[in-house]
Amino acid sequence: MTEFLLATAGVILFTVAVGLVRILGGPGDADRLMAAQLIGTGGIASLLLIAVATGAHGVEDVALGLALLAAFASAAFVNSAAPAEAPDVADGR
C-alpha cells in the first residue's frame, strides 16, 4: 500500500511538472498564474500522499496552511495589476 501511495504521489507530481512546462512559459500572465493554482492542488495532493506513506506526523496542518494560501498569488496579482490595467483609471489621468 505504501508503494501505491508513493507511486500515485509521483504520478501526480509528474503531471504537475508537465503542466508547469506548458504554462510557466505563458503566453499571458493568466497562464502563469495557473501554474500557482496547479501546484497548489497537485502539491497538496502529493504532500498528503507522501506524508501518509512515510508516516510523517502533523502534515495536515502544512496542507491546511497551503490550502489557505492557495489563492493568494492570484489575489495579489489582481490587486496590484488592476489600477494600471483598468481602462477608466488609465484614461482618467
Partner: protein, 114 residues
C-alpha cells in the same frame, strides 16, 4: 544515496543558481528572487545536517530546524525591505534599474501621476 543527501545536493545546486542570478541578472527584483533562492539552498544544506542528527527518537535534530525557521522569517524581512527600496526607486526615477545612467532620463509615467 539517501533522500537527505539528495536534498543536500539540491541545496548546493540552488546556492550556485542563486549566486549566478544575483550577479548576472541586472534587474533588482530578479536579484531579490535569486538571493532568496540562494538562502533557501543554504537552509536545505543545513536541513540535512538536522536530518543526519536524527537521534533520541527524533527524526531530525531540532536545533538546526529552529535556526532555519528563524532564518526563513529574517529572509522574509530582508526581502520586504529590499522590495520597498526597489519600489521607491521606481517611484522616484520611473525606472527600476541599478544603472545610474538610466535614472537621468525623465520618468516615463510608469508610476502614474503621483
Amino acid at each position: 544515496m539517501t533522500s537527505a543527501t539528495l536534498a543536500g545536493l539540491v541545496g548546493a545546486a540552488l546556492v550556485g543558481l542563486g549566486l549566478y542570478g544575483l550577479i548576472a541578472n541586472p534587474q533588482p527584483l530578479r536579484k531579490i528572487l535569486a538571493f532568496n533562492l540562494m538562502g533557501s539552498g543554504i537552509f536545505l544544506v543545513f536541513g540535512i545536517v538536522a536530518r543526519k542528527g536524527a537521534a533520541a527518537g527524533l527524526q531530525a535534530d531540532p536545533v538546526p530546524q529552529a535556526m532555519v525557521i528563524t532564518g526563513i522569517v529574517v529572509a522574509f524581512a530582508a526581502s520586504a525591505l529590499a522590495v520597498a527600496l526597489v519600489l521607491r526607486l521606481f517611484e522616484d526615477t520611473g525606472q527600476a534599474t541599478l544603472n545610474p545612467d538610466a535614472w537621468t532620463k525623465p520618468p516615463d509615467g510608469g508610476a502614474g501621476a503621483e
